[in-house]
Amino acid sequence: MWTLIAQIFPYAIAFTIPLLITSLGGLFSERSGVVNIGLEGLMVVGSFTGAIVIYTLQPIMSPDLAVWIGLLAAALAGGVFAILHAFASINLNANQVISGTAINMMAGALTVFLARNVTGSGNIPIVRGLLRRDVPILSEIPVIGRLFFTSTYATTWLVLAILLLGWYVIYKTSYGLRLRACGEHPHAADSAGVNVYKVRYIAVILSGAFSGLGGGILLVTIAGEFTGSVAGLGFLALAALIFGQWKPLGILGATAFFGLASTIANVSSVIPMLKVIPGVILKVFPYIVTLIALVAFSKSSQAPKAAGEPYEKGKR
């Protein structure tokens, strides 16, 4: 049992991280009052941009440096693409769900189209992603060292740092205070002199940047090539956001659960102990648990009150 857990843990974490950062992006957006169902598409944009940058740079510079530049570009591209959603939902009071759906469709079509124009192929492979490393000293700690500090990606620590920073920003800084106010009661924020539009723009762009980064991390840790899809991870991140009750630590728990559950389901076929459980049970397990968790949390839902409501100055 222990060896089993120890073995799959690093992979569960690897799977968790892109979900986590994307979910954090969704958190910023929804906490500001803008529902972002386009996380999936924004991840695709990140994955595409990361791939194209790394693909271009790796032959001419240190592969590691290229990867980091690629990740940066992925985040930037995600942020820029999110402006489309911000414009529709903040300036035009569009139905945010529909706008997000359009983002998803556009990202899928546009990136493959561009990929084909740039590389001549709908896929963009990268030679090398990120390497896994043991964290010095810490990996020597019994139990914990084996689980958390062995075979880790640098991006894991980056994302955890961003999460921590995100927590700090949301709960401790003035931007965070304003952000939460905009998601709960934008008119209150407005009359207190907060520029609701600006706060929401920043939040939506951040959600794009984080999702883009999520797509990029997926690329450099797991996928190894851009294929025009992130296989529903963006939607899973959205579910994790709600499962995690719009709280940074909550989404950490929710995404870790998804990471672990889906890794177990994926590798079950090569783990004799798990082979006795019917495959279908293992595969649907994470989804059913999510449904149960949603029911359990439904009473005390922490959903931002104004999420999904277009903000119009005159209206109340």
Binding site: Q7, P63, N123, L131, A231, N266, S269
Partner: protein, 338 residues
């Protein structure tokens, strides 16, 4: 792109319809298209591929119709999923030629009917897998190997079964000691779940597997990534590629690759040969062709930088015996794993 710069010019318009997956799938779609493109370059035919909206017979037939109506009357389709579509197309479009790779036309009842304007091509994937198995066993001498398949479809199954026979053959005839455990032979269930590919490969490597044969499209990409990561952190693990020479996909530094060798089926060759035959007026209409060891339709790459000369020599001997019929490889599961 039509037109070429080689000076050769031909009126033949060659179309292709892709199966599930993209044209860049590093597998049969890509292989077929590469053969077609080669024909464009060498023989001056004009080419076009279409990607159907779905994977049903209706979707396929629609694209075939589109190609036909646009003047592409030599149509190549890769994958057994085209069997029923080609069955209809070959009579519906009598003046067109069809090349069906990995399948034979039937109406859904598996009673094959290959009309005069159609060629059906099969590959001896089991022989290819067998050679890869022998190469792997001889190169590693001892250790454990595993197999990751995509979906449980005939070509993938045949690769698997052949690979297992190859390992066994080497153990029995070349003194190797390679184990393949039942639990390490898995079908992931898709051709695109990269994360699962990575995780499955990792789980197998962690359990002591030294080399994994991946016949799984995008799932294999995940496995290759995992192998790269491990090799770079000092482990000694390998992946055996499939369909095409995947050496380049496994490159992690300079020229070094985690691809030990690849179990190839020369789809590109087959597509190219059919086009050439058509131009030469020798289109083998009505026939079912088998691409196997005998006609060099399957095999491992000519250059295998990760295989020692000795290994290559052994493999080439085995290859000869396959050609001569001294060795036969079963295309059935029998008492093999999965």
């Amino acid at each position: 792109g039509c037109g070429t710069d080689t000076g050769n010019k031909s009126d033949l318009q060659v179309g292709m319809v892709t199966d599930a997956g993209t044209i860049d799938d590093k597998s049969f779609n890509q292989g077929t298209w590469e053969g077609v493109k080669l024909a464009e370059k060498d023989l001056g035919v004009s080419t076009k591929y279409l990607k159907p909206a779905g994977t049903t017979e209706a979707d396929y037939l629609k694209e075939i119709g589109n190609l036909y109506d646009a003047g592409y009357k030599f149509i190549v389709t890769p994958g057994f999923k085209f069997e029923t579509a080609i069955f209809q197309a070959q009579t519906k479009y009598e003046d067109a030629k069809f090349v069906l790779i990995d399948g034979s036309p039937h109406s859904g009842d598996y009673n094959n009917v290959v009309e005069e304007n159609t060629v059906s091509i099969f590959f001896a994937e089991h022989e290819s897998g067998f050679l890869a198995g022998v190469a792997t066993a001889v190169e590693l001498q001892e250790g454990e190997v595993g197999f990751i398949g995509g979906m449980e479809i005939p070509p993938v199954q045949k690769f698997n079964w052949g690979f297992q026979q190859g390992i066994k053959y080497a153990n029995e005839n070349h003194g190797t000691n390679i184990e393949i455990k039942a639990e390490n032979v898995v079908y992931q269930g898709s051709f695109d779940n990269v994360a699962a590919g990575q995780q499955l490969a990792a789980a197998q490597f962690d359990k002591g597997v030294d080399a994994i044969f991946c016949a799984a499209g995008g799932v294999g990409v995940g496995a290759i990534n995992e192998a790269k990561a491990r090799v770079e952190s000092g482990e000694n693990v390998w992946i055996i590629g499939v369909d095409v020479d995947q050496y380049a996909d496994g490159i992690y530094e300079g020229e070094k690759s985690v691809i030990l060798t690849s179990a190839m089926k020369r789809i590109d060759q087959a597509a190219y040969d059919m086009i050439k035959a058509e131009l030469d007026g020798k289109f083998p209409g009505g026939q079912t062709l088998n691409f196997d060891a005998k006609n060099n339709g399957v095999g491992i790459p000519e250059k295998n930088p990760n295989l020692s000369d000795d290994t290559e020599k052994v493999v080439s001997d085995v290859f000869t015996k396959l050609k001569s019929g001294d060795i036969t490889v079963s295309a059935e599961q029998g008492d093999l794993i999965k």
